[in-house]
């Protein structure tokens, strides 16, 4: 009973809630971010998060659950992209640009119609992690565990297909199935984090920790672990910085991640000399 009381107090504090939610998202973003980097999908992540804006406006228009609506829209856009790639002669990045900006534009046009609702556009673009409630945290952890569990089971297939698609296909890894599921997982992590990190910064939280990890790791497993840790450290440090010097929390997290990235660029020899 006393334990419950402690938790109650913990969750009552908006800052602690932000920390818990942020750490949850960083843990999910670590492994997914590595795959995004390995597969050169950073712009794909951007497209999904831009389309998330459309998801949010639709959720407001029809009073849906935001996370659910964002997930559906991101998934639809991802599948649309896969389909378009087979049908047109345009390169992948052109199609991504087309989808990213048109969904963003549709979302912004729709916002214009929603005059009856007070709309916090800034909050949508950059998120507001300090406003998370217990339900948001529950969603992050339930959704996060689901995403990581699925990812665990399709990891070998995804990873081998990332190294070489033909090889994975030939050796019974069923890469087309795992690729499809991976796309849904990406849509999932974006849906989970849009309220906290915002449409414009989600890709940053996916990419930068994984980029930090690439600079300092020599095996895939190491890279996944370091990316996850770097994400968690960025969230914690970023939130404390934002509390201390009163800056907005989402961007602060990304700035901390960037600083970690710059540190990770310093070659090992110089680091050794600095320690002396």
């Amino acid at each position: 009973m006393k334990q419950m009381g402690v938790f109650q107090i913990m969750f009552d504090d908006f800052f602690t809630r932000a920390l818990i939610a942020g750490i949850g998202i960083a843990i999910v973003a670590g492994p997914l971010g590595c795959l995004v980097i390995w597969r050169r999908l950073s712009y794909f992540g951007d497209t999904l998060s831009h389309s998330a804006l459309l998801g949010v406006t639709l959720a407001y228009s029809f009073s849906f659950n935001i996370t659910f609506s964002v997930f559906i829209i991101s998934a639809v856009i991802a599948l649309l992209l896969i389909n378009l790639q087979k049908r047109t002669k345009l390169a992948g990045d052109s199609l991504l640009g087309l989808l990213a900006h048109s969904t963003l534009a549709i979302g912004l046009v729709l916002i214009g119609f929603l005059t009856s609702i007070r709309f916090d556009l800034m909050g949508l673009l950059f998120g507001d992690i300090l406003a998370v409630n217990i339900e948001d945290i529950t969603l992050v952890y339930v959704g996060g565990v689901a995403i990581l569990t699925i990812l665990y089971f399709i990891w070998k297939s995804l990873f081998s297909a990332t190294v070489n698609y033909d090889l994975a296909a030939a050796e019974g890894m069923k890469p087309e199935v795992s690729n499809f599921i991976f796309t849904l997982l990406l849509a999932g992590v974006i849906a989970l984090s849009i309220k906290m990190i915002g449409a414009l910064l989600i890709t940053g939280l996916l990419l930068i920790p994984a980029a930090i990890a690439r600079n300092v790791s020599s095996s895939p497993r190491q890279m996944v672990i370091i990316a996850t840790l770097a994400g968690v450290v960025s969230v914690i440090a970023g939130l404390f910085v934002s509390l201390e010097i009163n800056t907005s929390s989402g961007p602060s997290i990304i700035v901390v991640a960037l600083i970690l990235f710059i540190i990770s660029l310093i070659p090992l020899e110089i680091k050794g000399q600095l320690q002396k």
């Binding site: 033909d166 994975a168 030939a170 019974g172 895939p220």
Partner: protein, 249 residues
């Protein structure tokens, strides 16, 4: 029928149609356990495409593909590993199967690169990488092994050793091997069945019968055909299990 029990793959009049033309058409072949089947032919003749049909990477747009292989291993012709991925040889060996370090080292020893176990895969030379690719395919202990120009970039002595290894594996693992190779010497001396492709099957048969085929001579030209009689001569005098072919002549 014993013959049928050993059947791994059967293509019956298969082909792939892409961008409004047939890349390869009318391919019929069988691969049995313990047998080495080779595909030869000029560039763009559909060798890799045929291999991909066998491996079920590509769907055949006509005809029938029967594949009874339980475990397939593939050595692709080209493989580019992105620099964004940190990958050591040991990680690469475990790519599609759960094998232990002992099996990995054994396989790498067979291709002579066991010293590279913890090396970054991006820093290997072309030949070393090729050896790792072959080792990975062998380590899985497949019943069908598909090798698409497996010895490209390997030094001369290594080439002979690797071809001998391929020959040995077909008997020790009793697996079927499909080999795409430009090395007519090995093709003619050590394989069981040769298929000559040029958009379709020009001719096929045992190495001995195929060199007499007019379609073969036409495809490889007078020059190659004459070189081939030389190859056959080599074959008559020394056996391929001995690495030093030229010394014996």
């Amino acid at each position: 029928m014993l013959e049928n029990n050993n059947l791994l793959v059967k293509l019956d009049n298969c082909g792939v149609y892409k961008s409004s033309k047939w890349i390869v058409r009318g391919v019929s072949l069988e691969i049995h356990k313990g047998q080495i089947v080779t595909l030869i032919g000029p560039n763009g003749s559909g060798k890799t495409t045929s291999a991909k049909m066998i491996l079920k990477i590509l769907q055949s747009d006509e005809g029938q593909v029967e594949n009874y292989a339980i475990k397939m291993s593939y050595v692709p012709q080209k493989i580019n590993i992105d620099w964004t991925m940190p990958l050591r040889v040991i990680d690469f060996m475990k790519l599609t199967s759960h094998i232990n370090n002992l099996e990995i080292i054994d396989a790498l020893k067979l291709t002579g690169v066991d010293n590279l176990l913890y090396n970054d895969i991006h820093n290997l030379s072309g030949g070393e990488f090729q050896r790792v690719l072959i080792a990975r395919a062998i380590a899985k202990k497949p019943d069908l092994l598909v090798l698409d120009e497996p010895v490209q970039g390997v030094d001369f002595n290594g080439e002979i050793a690797l071809y001998n290894l391929i020959k040995k594996i077909s008997t020790t693992l009793n697996c079927g091997i499909l080999l795409i190779s430009h090395d007519l010497h090995f093709v003619m001396s050590a394989t069981d069945h040769v298929i000559c492709l040029n958009g379709h099957i020009c001719c096929s048969g045992t190495p001995k019968s195929i060199v007499k085929d007019s379609a073969y001579i036409e495809l490889f030209g007078e020059h190659k055909a004459t070189t081939l009689s030389l190859y056959q001569h080599d074959h008559d005098h020394s056996h391929e299990t001995d690495g030093s072919v030229s010394n014996n002549v």
